[in-house]
């Protein structure tokens, strides 16, 4: 089921929680709404679910305008942040409640409950109460409850935020696999950018009620369109500058510690303010070479050993500190604090985006 959101605004009092948002989600797509708390992502999800009515704009499921359709007639399955399992019903009763309301015979319902429990890997737990299950199991029950009605789309509201880190990674891959197997359209809300990158076909980054950028994970990570996305997704080194010359795909910008060459999307002109972004993993320490590179020099001010990487903070002067990663530090001897080092990065991985 395709979803189209056109110029939708939702206000609470004077505050616009969602402000003139337009999006489209394709058939069978896993689409993530990503952003910090209070950015409007959950409000948009609840507009899709039908818990809120849009003040302006239109929401279409397929060709059908659903603005005034109540939740249960929208053909959605929803998974809530805190699972929202009814504590007074067993797992089977939780799952089959919607079937009962649809007057499905109890023998048919039992078969469907069994199937969906097997799908989420909970065979045999139908007789338990939610309180007797672990968090991960509860979330699988919530998923089963959403899926048993064969919804045309799945809405997931931060479904993993209450789980332990290890379980979270496991359940998230389960959800992703299940969604692909079923080919169901899914809208997924999260504030965790890593989760969003790992699960999504496409991501919409939200801030202050507006969409900042929409795209596949790789595009958002490598070619953020604005400062908010560059900063919010992954770790990034940012420094402001002024464009000196922009010809073709590469521009030169004046920054606090010298002129840098950077790629850009051809929107920047000479004289524009810009932000230069370089990911820590793209910065090399001491005397790396190959291709066109930007070079700068600084002093090590901090080091954090993370196991699979060693991350240095390098003070470049003028109040700018860049992070640089040494991948696989197994054979790397840690450089003492205060040591002056040479840094370089390929121009192809140095990105310039418009400031502000």
């Amino acid at each position: 089921m395709r979803i189209a959101v056109e110029n939708v605004t939702k206000r609470f009092g004077a505050l616009a929680a969602v402000s003139d948002v337009s999006l489209s989600v394709g058939e069978g797509e896993m689409f993530t709404l990503l952003g910090p708390s209070g950015c409007g992502k959950t409000t948009l999800l609840r507009l899709l679910a039908g818990f809120y009515n849009a003040d302006e704009g239109e929401i279409r499921f397929g060709d059908r305008v659903v603005n005034d359709v109540p939740p249960h007639e929208r053909g959605i399955g929803m998974v809530f942040q805190n699972y929202a399992l009814w504590p007074h019903m067993t797992v089977s009763e939780n799952i089959s409640y919607g079937l009962k309301l649809r007057k499905v015979s109890s023998s048919d319902a039992a078969v469907r409950v069994k199937e969906v429990l097997a799908r989420v890997g909970l065979t045999g737990l139908g007789g338990r109460y939610p309180g007797q299950l672990s968090g991960g199991q509860q979330q699988r029950v919530a998923l089963a409850r959403a899926l048993v009605l064969n919804p045309q789309m799945l809405l997931l509201d931060e479904p993993l935020s209450n789980l332990d880190a290890k379980i979270r990674v496991q359940v998230r891959s389960e959800i992703r696999k299940l969604q692909k197997e079923l080919g169901i359209t899914a809208v997924y809300v999260t504030h965790d950018q890593e989760e969003a990158l790992a699960m999504s076909d496409r991501i919409a980054v939200f801030n202050l009620g507006r969409v900042c950028q929409v795209g596949p994970p790789k595009a958002l990570y490598e070619r953020p369109a604005n400062r908010f996305v560059a900063d919010f997704i992954g770790i990034n080194n940012l420094v402001e500058g002024t464009v000196r010359s922009a010809e073709g795909a590469v521009l030169q910008a004046e920054t606090a510690f010298g002129v840098l060459s950077a790629i850009h999307d051809a929107t920047l002109r000479a004289g524009d303010r810009c932000v230069i972004c370089v990911r820590p993993e793209n910065i090399a320490l001491n005397g790396q070479s190959g291709g066109e590179r930007n070079h700068f020099r600084g002093r090590i001010s901090f080091a954090a050993y993370l196991g699979n990487t060693l991350r240095y903070d390098v003070d470049l002067g003028a109040g700018v500190t860049f992070k640089t990663d040494v991948g696989d530090p197994w054979d790397h001897e840690q450089i003492p604090m205060g040591t002056t080092v040479e840094l370089s990065c390929a121009v192809g991985s140095t990105l310039a985006i418009p400031a502000g």
């Binding site: 929803m78 809530f80 805190n82 929202a84 504590p87 007074h88 109460y129």
Partner: protein, 568 residues
Amino acid sequence: MPVAQTAAIAVRRPRTPASAAIGFGLIWLFLIVFVLYPLTRIFYDAFSNDVGQLTLANFYEFFTDRYYLRSLWNSLVLGVATVVATSVIGIAVAFLIVRFEFPGRNLFSYLSMLPMILPPLVGVLGFVFILGRAGTVNVLLMDWFDMLHPVNFMYGTHGVLLVETLHLFPFMTLSILDSLSKVDPSLEEAAQVVGANGWRRFRDVTLPLTTPGYVSGALLVFIWTFADFVTPLVVGVQDLLAVQAYLNIVQFVDRRIFRMGIVISALLVVLAIVFVLVARHYVAIKDYSSLAYSKVERRQLGPIARWLAVGFLALLMLVSLLPQAGVVLAAVGKGWSLTPLPEHYTLDHFRQVSVETPRFIINSLLYSGLAVLICLVVGVPMAWIMARTRTPGRGTMDALTTLILAIPGTAIGIAYIRAFHYPLPGIDVALTSMWIVLPLVLAVRRLPYTVRSSYSSLLLVHKSMEEAAENVGAGKLATFRDITAPLMWKGILVGAIFSFIMSIQEASATLFLTLGGWEMIPFGIFSYYIAGSHSQAAALGVILIALCAASLYTVNRIAGTRVGGLFG
């Protein structure tokens, strides 16, 4: 109060100096002597004959006596009927207040708690003055419709049901209010997504989610009704279990009948404990605690529904508060009979029950005050032991507090008569012949309130706050004085005043133990009424209401919240 919670709070086993061990021992001594021993004693009496041999003959006699069996049956039916009636009213009021917005919502939420604080005994009298044979309503009806006989609103089991329902529905409202406001909105939204709407969603999801609150409310209502003997006696009903216990005990003539009173009170205790255990088991299977991220928003009621809601609540308040008005009228009315309202007014009755016979008020204040003091001395350390230490026996203490809450006052009164009528060693006087027994029994009955309010206040003071103080150099005493005490005194004081209100209204256990000269206000009301001096009874009732209102006002000023929170 779940003991499991305390495990996370109490982080270490404190060193136990000798003084702490002595304090701990004294508290257990108190619990054993004044709670466990009397209860054991009535069970021993119930299971033995006059020469002290163990026997089941007493129970055989009870269960083969048609009248007792009918009383048992009537009590059970009355209890269930009251639960049903209070459920309907209590749930309706709670839902209106939590889920909907309408004019006067806040005012009603305060007013609906009032009947709970008003002394039940006074309420019964008021009902008789307004709805009794010669009460206002019947006088008006006979006047307007030329009826020859008054309508019997009050005299009989239906009268008991009416009075209990109107007195007890706030307990139900409060319990459900608490559960209902903790329900996570997403539980209802999840139901909405799968297509459960309106009445269906209410029945299948919302209502069951209030089960924990509902069960505790229902239990309280049931046990209260089951054990109340004053209300039935006032409206002339005798074939109820608690009434039989009272009548059998106070007659003091026939030893056999006296023993049956003890058997009945043992039965009251057993049944109360069974009900508590069943209820606990029922709730415990399911884990109702959930992570609530937000509250369900209140819905505006439509114009018609809005006035229906206001009308329903206004009528309910009128009916439940009318008796209090009746008591006031009876207290100031002079020779009030066969007229809808008194024709002449006087303050003479007040003078008689206060200036001429001041002992009711003096005794009430003295005994209730002492009871609160005992509660504090025993209850606060108990709460501290449960919240801050890992001493063995904490679980038992918690269970004992729950037990005390469940045991009917009637049974405790009888238990004390049996347990403490032996001369004490050394002074050769029995405890039941000394007035201190009244504050003691009051204190035991109200101990759970003090323990629970202190416990929850202590939980507010996280252990780490105290540790932080010790870390910057405060000694144990300074820590308690500067950190712990300022953070918890409010909760303790509110609990204490609440215990005071409940003590001063107490009209079950104390009625058994009162001897000449020890009369408290409820005893005075009861005996004046039974002796036919209705005006004096009413005057004492008004004084009691005034004392309760003053205490309640103090609680509100101190806590700045509704008293209701204490029941949670």
